[in-house]
Symmetry: C2
């Protein structure tokens, strides 16, 4: 069996930057998980004393608070400032962009439409910047009932699929006089998705490594499933099952933007071991 | 054989308005054909003395000049003003809209992209309002070589198909940080197209009545051809051939936005005559 790692996979710029910030701010408190990868946040806790606390009003005044990569709602930022916390902003710059767009476009009177999951922390942070209530839609079905203005500004959660974003844009273009479309899907997401698509088309088993609560990992998994029936989403090497690989010829591996290389390496090592021990 | 006229067909608001203006300005000179229908412009000539002259510098000073529905380039307008012509502006308001958008968006520094045929008078008029050279593309193939700015404003020729407009929009959304999409396809075009699509799906012969140089008529014809193999584009009733209707059960009829009702009536009458004379 041939094992191939997707050309583009794993850590993106924003995640790398956030981890560096956390490592250089020992004993900092993150506002919710810094990234959606439990094994990595656990590593940061054990090695650098980085803890998690989503209840901002409980964080002692004057603490060193690290903003998670997904950003936080605008009013939470104000809460932290009011409590005179030392703020280390690890919000991914790709998330800061839609935040700013929401603010300026709603200031200019545009109806804001966010393509994303209303429960995802990134979307919660982005929507908080709109000065008027934004429309948030994770699927086309969530749009038709929405009242639309003549002038609409559209942004996307950074980790969404571009094809789905197009569908939302088309729906709006059909109905509104002007649609300002800001393609805020981040490059790393897009590149990882393209590589995963290509690799899964040429594999008979695909392993997607990443957090089950990670939006971009879930998107990768969905793309792989479309192309390769034997696709599996795992968080760590110990979830692998040797029988998955029986009679398989081409194994593809990809990983979400919040999956550290050490987890990917462990996964690859275990699969290699299956091969050498002839378990597969 | 059952004969059905498309629910929405023929004259649009802009054409009706232009003809009214021409009829109330006898002996006026139009800047090129007022509308893309030779039989109707001939009627205006014989009944109201409306003539056509595209060479604006040849029109005697102080003449009554009627601007065609498709608009004219901005500098031509200035020529007319300089020659102190009496200007009657029959530019369709749906064309004035993209003209204004091109002007204001290029003023704001956006790269203008016009989805349309560069040789069409409407597109020539619209593009003349851009302060920086616009990109004009009639198909996707005309886009890739174009250099795109980060911020792009997209308008459409009023008579294009919405599905093709979406494709151009997608291409730009994929490549540009911001795309301001102005859906300038006019309602009448859209409604006529939807009706033609629906009717041609339920017909085994489709007659499209309109000028061969009329953009919206050509679009209707293309839509009908996609749904019904026996589709014919005619300018007048005398082009009909009885043998087209042999063994046909459902005949659909539609007409372009510049096709007057009297031509459509003549077409329907002739088909009815085929039926009653049992030629069919």
């Amino acid at each position: 069996m041939k094992i191939t790692l997707a050309k583009r996979h794993g850590f993106c710029f924003g995640v790398k930057r956030a981890i560096k910030l956390a490592e250089s701010n020992e004993n900092g408190i993150t506002t919710g998980p810094l990234i959606h990868n439990q094994l990595e946040t656990e590593r940061l806790r054990s090695k650098y004393g980085i803890t998690i606390n989503e209840r901002l009003e409980q964080i002692p005044e004057g603490s060193r608070v690290i903003i998670r990569t997904h950003g936080i709602p605008k009013h939470d930022f104000k809460t932290l400032e009011a409590r005179q916390q030392i703020i280390i902003d690890a919000t991914c710059p790709f998330v800061t962009k839609p935040q700013k767009i929401c603010e300026s476009m709603s200031e200019e009177g545009y109806q804001i439409v966010i393509f994303g999951d209303i429960e995802h922390p990134e979307v919660k942070s982005v929507m908080s910047y709109a000065l008027t209530p934004p429309i948030v839609a994770a699927t086309m079905d969530e749009l038709p009932s929405a009242k639309l203005k003549e002038r609409v500004a559209l942004v996307s959660q950074t980790t969404k699929k571009i094809e789905d974003f197009f569908k939302i844009a088309e729906y709006l273009i059909m109905r509104c006089a002007e649609v300002r479309v800001f393609n805020t899907i981040c490059n790393a997401t897009f590149d990882n998705q393209e590589s995963a698509k290509h690799l899964s088309q040429n594999s008979d088993i695909m392993i997607v490594v990443g957090g089950r609560n990670s939006s971009n990992t879930k998107q990768l998994f969905s793309i792989c499933q479309e192309q390769c029936a034997a696709s599996y989403l795992i968080e760590a090497a110990n979830e692998l099952q040797p029988e998955w690989f029986f009679d398989k010829e081409a194994c593809g591996i990809t990983a979400g933007a919040s999956t550290p290389q050490w987890i990917i390496d462990a996964v690859m090592e275990r699969i290699q071991n299956y091969l050498s021990s002839k378990e597969v």
